[in-house]
């Protein structure tokens, strides 16, 4: 119990006592048979009133005490309290040499509104001790099988258990260079689920090592919306048939999924993950708060501080930092950074309000970053930019020696981010950030936002952009060439399209740029126009960008001129391009642009139901679900029977049923529009063209590292 529950209950107890006292007084009066010591007459009415009053007080006191008790039971339980339930963990013991952390519990008393709004976020529940409040997955009577392993799930009261191959044994095999799932009959045992990660779209779980403080991933994901388990590997764009993943919490997750998470070794050499608090709590963004809490225990200081309106020097408020510093508070986790070699030795960590460059080099591979670095070195100064650039190139060389797709699995070739969780790397490439005051907090907030994307209510729609570009607001249609209220006039849809893959979904690029066919040709990243107008060829987009915005028209191939861009990427693209095209085919904003051509998308999405990548199949299935949700018929039936994890033969059969059941609708389409969708004059699909394009699918192995 914390906060105000305790004094309130004391007060209620006091009310009960007063009630008792009143009863005693009335009893005394009753005993004097209607007359007291000084001879005043006590009427029977007064006696009855007193008795009723006393009874009323007692009942009221009892009722309020009961309500108070219920209220106390419902109070928020902090993750710190939950952390104590993790056996053999030392998660609540920060390094004594590091700044002191107070925990979010102690913020609530002075900042109830901020505490409550943070409490609603998925940041808070990013990491939780496993318990009935945190575990979302179904454990009762579940047996899961994948990649040669079986997992038996069980719930025992408030605890969650899994019978599985011994993770310590599997890890040992992995360390010796063997693939554990290929070794039959492993030693098995029951492991208790001790911790959870995620709560928004999916949740995964952790079991403890039997030897040291390591936490091993239970390799399944619970999909929250779908209410089902899937093997962890199938939730990511990874090479089909690839090895099982063996994540250890302290190897990477601890850095950002907990406050001040650190991987340390005990004197005996055992791994001991430590953190000030599980999840992304108050001090994750505001820095260590013990001094702040101590200083503000003094009410005089507190009121002085409140009334002065000046920032409190004992705590960091990202909203008061400049754009770069406040963005780095988010970016130290929502970004890809190289930790400086000397940081680990010196034990120096990034703290909110500090400079990220002191401890990390933010990864940048864009042309702009290269120019910046070159300019610095040409100026004859051993600038930080130039030396960081050099250090980063060495790092990339080293990584590329080990994995030649290291950069391609993380960035598009022009340096734009490709996977979620790297939003800072995207935003800092934007001209709006480099030349203006744009920061993460321009659009996002932890305290004044929908927890879904943490988008600020005050920046909803175009408000975030029009704040700096007010002239466009006066005549939006002249700039967008789309009706002002349409999705084609939303700033984000053109300047920050969904080109980043993450968690079986697509998110916005966070690099504010302009739609460009030239960039698409250079990088393979579909341009924003074509991500809505999926039924139009790239040449059509090029024509419009040329006539509306004066962009030079590049030379295009015949397919690029004639075949709808959505169809082309869906058939010839790599796994990421197919995933993002499939996602956009289910995107309501995009669907609005091909109303007259409805139905064609089902045929092509049907084709992806047998894609080699499970994540691509899952996205295609979702888009098909959305496409057929309001209709009945054969396609609807086939889609409802489909599961992206079905065996190949069943997938192929259902794919055929969906594609065969598609009924072409040519009404309202010109011949050229129909041809772009590979539809013949007779309304049938141009199968030779379809097969030709499908045969040229880019099967480069993709392993997008989220």
């Amino acid at each position: 119990m914390s906060g105000y529950g305790f004094p309130l209950q004391l007060f209620l107890v006091a009310m009960l006592l007063v009630g008792c006292a009143a009863l005693l007084v009335i009893r005394n009066q009753g005993e004097s048979a209607g007359r007291n010591r000084v001879g005043w007459a006590i009427s029977p009415v007064q006696q009855r009133s007193g008795a009723v009053l006393a009874a009323l007080v007692l009942c009221l006191g009892g009722l309020l005490a009961w309500l108070g008790w219920i209220d106390a039971d419902r109070r928020i339980t902090s993750s710190v309290a939950l952390a104590k339930e993790i056996p053999a963990r030392r998660l609540d013991t920060p390094d004594p040499t590091s700044p002191e952390y107070a925990s979010s519990d102690r913020c609530q008393a002075c900042h109830p509104g901020q505490f409550a709004s943070w409490h609603e976020t998925y940041h808070r529940t990013m990491t939780q001790a496993a318990g009935t409040d945190s575990v979302l997955g179904r454990f009762e009577g579940q047996v899961l099988r994948a990649r040669g392993r079986q997992y038996i799930l069980e719930r025992r009261g408030d605890e969650y258990w899994v019978e599985m191959a011994d993770p310590d044994w599997e890890r040992d095999l992995l360390d010796r260079g063997r693939r554990p799932e290929q070794v039959p009959r492993p030693p098995r045992g029951w492991k208790r689920i001790v911790m959870t990660t995620g709560s928004h779209h999916m949740q995964t779980y952790w079991v403890a090592s039997g030897r040291d403080g390591r936490l091993f991933n239970f390799p399944w994901l619970w999909l929250v919306k779908e209410q089902r388990w899937i093997p962890r590997e199938d939730g990511f764009i990874r090479p089909p048939g690839g090895a099982r993943t063996f994540d250890v919490w302290h190897s990477a997750c601890i850095e950002c999924h907990a406050v001040a998470g650190e991987k340390t070794r005990s004197p005996a050499g055992d791994w001991m993950p430590e953190a000030a608090e599980l999840g992304i709590a108050c001090e994750g963004c505001h820095g260590p708060a013990e001094e702040h809490v101590r200083a503000n225990a003094d009410p005089l200081r507190r009121y002085q501080q409140r009334l002065s309106g000046e920032p409190d020097s004992t705590i960091v408020n990202p909203a008061r930092l400049d754009a770069q510093s406040s963005s780095e508070v988010c970016g130290h986790c929502h970004g890809m950074n190289i930790i400086r070699a000397n940081v680990l030795a010196q034990g120096k960590r990034f703290r909110p309000g500090g400079e990220l460059a002191d401890t990390r080099i933010v990864m940048r591979i864009s042309e702009g970053a290269r120019r910046e670095a070159t300019k610095s070195s040409l100026g004859g100064q051993a600038s930080k930019h130039a030396s960081d650039w050099e250090a980063m190139q060495h790092f990339f060389d080293r990584m590329l020696d080990q994995d030649e797709s290291y950069l391609a699995d993380r960035f598009w070739s022009d340096g734009m981010i490709r996977v979620s969780g790297r939003e800072h790397n995207g935003m800092i490439e934007s001209a709006c950030f480099q030349g203006s005051e744009l920061s993460c907090l321009t659009c996002h907030s932890m305290h004044d936002a929908d927890p879904n994307d943490q988008l600020k209510a005050s920046s909803a729609g175009d408000a975030g952009c029009l704040g700096c570009h007010p002239s466009l607001a006066d005549n939006l249609e002249a700039h967008t060439h789309h009706p002002a209220e349409s999705s084609g006039s939303r700033c984000n849809n053109c300047h920050m399209p969904h080109t980043v893959y993450g968690l079986m979904n697509l998110i916005r690029s966070h690099w504010i740029d302009v739609p460009s066919v030239e960039t698409e040709l250079a990088t393979g990243r579909p341009n924003a126009c074509s991500l809505c107008h999926l039924d139009r060829p790239l040449g059509w987009a090029a024509d419009h960008l040329t006539s509306w915005y004066g962009q030079p028209r590049p030379t295009l191939s015949e397919d690029e001129e004639k075949v709808a861009n959505g169809v082309r990427w869906l058939l010839i693209g790599d796994a990421h391009q197919r995933a993002l095209t499939a996602w956009h085919l289910g995107w309501r904003d995009a669907q609005a642009s091909w109303r007259s051509n409805e139905g064609w998308d089902r045929f092509f999405l049907g084709h992806l139901l047998d894609d080699p990548y499970s994540a691509v199949r899952a996205i295609a299935e979702n888009s098909l679900d959305r496409s057929v949700e309001d209709s009945a018929g054969k396609v609807h039936t086939a889609v409802s029977e489909y599961d992206f994890l079905d065996p190949r033969a069943r997938r192929r059969s259902l794919r055929s049923r969906v594609m065969e059941a598609w009924e072409p609708r040519r009404q309202g389409k010109t011949e050229m529009q129909a041809a772009a969708l590979l539809i013949h004059g007779d309304g049938k699909i141009d199968l030779p063209a379809f097969d030709r394009l499908a045969a040229s699918r880019d099967d480069t192995e993709m392993d997008l590292r989220e």
Binding site: Y4, M15, L53, V57, P112, G113, A116
Partner: protein
């Protein structure tokens, strides 16, 4: 008509003065009870119509202060009534002793300052801290404590 001696006149005057104090507390108590039960109704209405100014999580301090104003106001109204009803038992002589006279004044002070401090303190809040008007509340609480102490002491004298 009955003849009265000067002593009995004086006794009657003292008794009337004490009765007047009791009546005043009784009246104050019931009216205060009415006011704070009304405040309770208002708070319930704020719940019923989901007023953000009262219910939003950022206004938790205001909600707490007003609940405290309602609860303390109601409680102290009941204490006034209890004092009025028990005053006859507390008197060892027909006249009101100075200590109970002081207790009476303190009780009025408490009955006004304590709920008012909480109520006004809830109008302007600074995050988890109430407005400065809340300083009235501890003054009221102190007066209440003095009053209850004096009454308790008088009740011991009365019982002996």
């Amino acid at each position: 008509m009955t003849d009265q001696t000067p002593d009995s006149d004086s006794l009657s005057r003292d008794r009337s003065a004490a009765m007047a104090v009791a009546d005043a507390h009784l009246s104050f108590g019931w009216w205060a009870l009415f006011v704070f039960l009304m405040l309770g109704l208002v708070l319930e209405a704020l719940h019923a119509f989901k007023f953000g100014y009262y219910l939003d999580s950022s206004n938790e301090t205001r909600r707490l202060m007003w609940r405290l104003a309602h609860a303390h106001g109601t409680l102290i109204a009941l204490v006034h009534i209890a004092f009025a009803l028990s005053l006859p038992s507390l008197l060892q002589s027909p006249s009101l002793p100075p200590s109970l006279s002081l207790a009476s004044r303190c009780l009025y002070g408490c009955g006004v300052l304590l709920p008012l401090g909480f109520f006004l303190g809830g109008i302007f809040v600074y995050g988890g801290d109430p407005g400065l008007a809340v300083l009235l509340a501890p003054v009221g609480a102190l007066l209440g404590a003095v009053a209850v102490f004096l009454i308790a002491r008088a009740s011991r004298g009365a019982s002996s």
